[in-house]
């Protein structure tokens, strides 16, 4: 097997670890970081495919990074403003929208 296939397996594994992390942790910042990991796992997949399907795939990696940056900025701002209110980052306690 070549490096591309191994890279895809690595990507799948990182993505799965990211999903498991989102499910396991209560700390909203760490859940957020898990999502970043999943995004980067996708980036790896895109880079692998750029070798065969054309270099344009790397442009999408670039967009993913840009969107991730924006998401991180807004998401962290939301976390800060929630933290100001509750003094905690436990996602289970953010339940105002429940029912």
């Amino acid at each position: 097997m070549d490096i591309e296939t191994y890279s895809l397996i690595l990507s799948a594994l990182l993505f799965a670890i990211g999903t498991v992390g989102v499910m396991l942790r209560r700390n909203v910042i760490i859940m957020f970081m898990c999502i970043e990991l999943m995004l980067n796992a996708v980036n790896l997949t895109l880079v692998v495919f750029s070798r065969s399907l054309g270099i344009e795939a790397q442009v999408f990696v670039f967009f993913v990074i840009a969107v991730a940056a924006a998401e991180a900025a807004v998401g962290l701002a939301i976390i800060i403003s929630i933290f100001r209110h509750y003094e905690l980052v436990d996602v289970d306690r953010f339940n105002l929208l429940k029912w």
Binding site: M23, L24, R26, I30, M33, S52, V61, E71
Partner: protein
């Protein structure tokens, strides 16, 4: 041979970093594990001849976004770790089972062949020739500023909105 060696090294680092991030009790440690995973991923990018992406990944992800995370953790003073925020055994089991099933299905998909067949096409020679001809930045810049100029500009707008939104959200309200 040397490529295989580095790939194994980076893969182990990435998986270890990811697992450490998920399992570390201290959020600061989590960030550090993630930084390690991203460094390793950048290494994999280099092995896959995506030099520019590797650099951007390091600078933007590891350098900027993760520093932002670290910054927020310290701002909110979440560094102390009296008890873990991992969920209970039922959730752990459910999470590992569903995550494992997910990974297993992705492997099944890879083994099916049509994904890997797409992966192998272009060949090392073509890639090398392209890099030699245009340079690491040039190969990405060409489609980005020709075919994808408008999405690129929209990305800029997105970042602007995100910046404004972040300021509005995080601003201390006047008492």
């Amino acid at each position: 041979m040397i490529v295989d060696f580095f790939f194994v090294l980076f893969a182990v680092m990435a998986i270890g970093g990811a697992a450490g991030m998920v399992l570390a009790r201290n959020p600061v440690a989590s960030v550090m594990y993630l930084v390690m995973a991203f460094f390793a991923l950048s290494g994999v990018f280099v092995l896959l001849d995506a030099h520019f992406i590797a650099a951007v990944n390091l600078i933007v992800y590891a350098g900027a976004i993760l520093v932002l995370f670290l910054f927020v953790i310290m701002l909110l003073n979440l560094g102390r770790t009296e008890k873990t925020d991992l969920r209970g055994p039922l959730y752990r089991m459910l999470a590992i089972v569903s995550g494992g099933a997910f990974f297993g299905l992705l492997l099944v998909m890879l083994r099916g062949g049509h994904v890997t067949s797409m992966a192998g096409g272009m060949g090392q020679e073509t890639m090398d020739a392209m890099l030699r001809a245009r340079g690491a930045v040039g190969v990405v810049a060409d489609p980005m500023f020709r075919s994808y100029l408008v999405p690129f500009e929209i990305t800029a707008l997105l970042l602007l909105v995100a910046v404004v939104g972040a300021i509005v959200l995080a601003r201390q309200k006047a008492p």
